[in-house]
Symmetry: C2
Amino acid sequence: MRVGIVGATGAVGRELLRVLHERRFPVRELRLFASPRSAGRHLPFGERTVAVQPLDPDALAGLDLVLTSAGSTLARRLAPALRGRVGLVVDNSSAFRMDEDVPLVVPEVNPDALAAHTGLVANPNCTTIIALLAVAPLHREAGLERLVCASYQAASGAGARALEELERQQRALAAGEQPPPPEVLPRPLAHNVIPHIDRFEPGGYTREELKIERESRRILGCPALRVSSTCVRVPVPRAHAVALQLEFERPLLPERARALLEQAPGLEVIDDPELGRYPTPLDVSGRDHVAVGRIRADRSHPRGLALWVVGDQLRKGAALNAVQIAERAFGIGERATPQANAPEGTG
Amino acid sequence: MRVGIVGATGAVGRELLRVLHERRFPVRELRLFASPRSAGRHLPFGERTVAVQPLDPDALAGLDLVLTSAGSTLARRLAPALRGRVGLVVDNSSAFRMDEDVPLVVPEVNPDALAAHTGLVANPNCTTIIALLAVAPLHREAGLERLVCASYQAASGAGARALEELERQQRALAAGEQPPPPEVLPRPLAHNVIPHIDRFEPGGYTREELKIERESRRILGCPALRVSSTCVRVPVPRAHAVALQLEFERPLLPERARALLEQAPGLEVIDDPELGRYPTPLDVSGRDHVAVGRIRADRSHPRGLALWVVGDQLRKGAALNAVQIAERAFGIGERATPQANAPEGTG
């Protein structure tokens, strides 16, 4: 297949290259695009490297698959120009996630939504994907009524430049120096946590927090689902965690929930507190599987369950989910993939 | 007054020295105690330094005030030996917090509980103190029914050695080296978050999480309060944050909640999202006031409120609260204290 990646030099773009290679996606031709500033660079794809071109919709025409990870403003301009000229666009921005004629898909959760696609599919928000991988099997069993979420989101979720900013701050602090002021994130992140991801909306929630509500409702097919989130950036390079409190229509015992989650695709249960077994961001960084632990009956609600879900937001939260959408759309069977602990970055 | 500090070389002990000095607590004589390993060291108290002695109950006898911060096993041995031989013991461990004849006090919340003391008062859990400073005024207004809490707890909350361990890991990572394996905390904390504070109990909650339930019920006088928490260690040196979702008997608008919190003692409202104003751990480190922001109507509950509370757990979460208890017990009026941004550590 002829494949293009828009935003190839970003954190998600580089992960897309790794995921396509690791999963042996049938790439016959690969074109990489980024801003003019990054054009001319070469990025590794397996054994070879591929030159990055400045973005040009005409250079994308005729491709079978275009994976875009370039912000919603650009996506809104680009996608109409591509529709009908490329086989499928999987867009990682928030531009089209609420468009009724654009499927919003987590392949393990709502694969059937893909059938209706007309050339454009939206990849959900990273925190939403990670949470829903654990929430969906429980919802099917007991009927989810309310979801309360507090997140612990990694720096690279705000892009490669945010991660570099955190690393600069951490190096300065380790050397006993004053860290440089933040330019990408709204506050210093080293030695800190920041309850502010994406911009604030009327009512006091952030867009990131509202995305979890809107996208969960759409993906789970629960328009009345009640959701409240607090999304917080933490000084972790990679992998998001969420503390979830779920309330169901019908009672759901932790033992039953654990059994359901153990059978759920894309999910690994790491849950034996007495042996100190629970997932942390370091455990899942670079891994495909989302991990869930600390599954317990909610002491504060008779039909409640509390759990802790951790996933690499560049993998399942972004690049892997996008490639899985493409595989499913093109009928490419899931291939056996080693659980590679990918290195932290290549570029 | 003749004052003793047990556990003087620990993170809380050193903060007790700073708080006593800053608040001009009327210290006529000061005796510092620690494990034999630390005896012989000298700690600063204002302009002078004071030698640390090995712990000896007889050397404590006759003191007016003993502030203990030395773990619950030691506290359980020590307190009976001191009762009747010293004027007042304020114990920072969890040993006596559930004892009916030992008041558990946050002076801004339940000062009247102090009246019944018989020589021993318990200082509450740090996360509980910080959360309740914001929760109590709202509870008085609207009747709290349920509290859901996710915490972002600093390394120094696990003691000075945990903070040193985090700093060692961070220095190694900044130098591109493999960090040494953890010895104090259950997992590596640098570049990570750990959903495990204190030990796990049957049912899957940790003791830290259950402390928030038990102590909140007792301090607020709400034995039926429903509480569920997820307590998480984050790579922050100092200051805890909590994302709270509160459910009340009666509706409580965010505007009314904000007005109540602005009048509440010990609390600072930092809440103007459009101007990027909300508190973070760096903002409150070394400060006496607990800060609250992100006050908003809970989208998922008709009588719910979501908020974000941040406080220096060594100050108001431990040392300051203990000294305030002593001030009140001895009728020492609150003194004007500058909002000192205390240096990170002295020892």
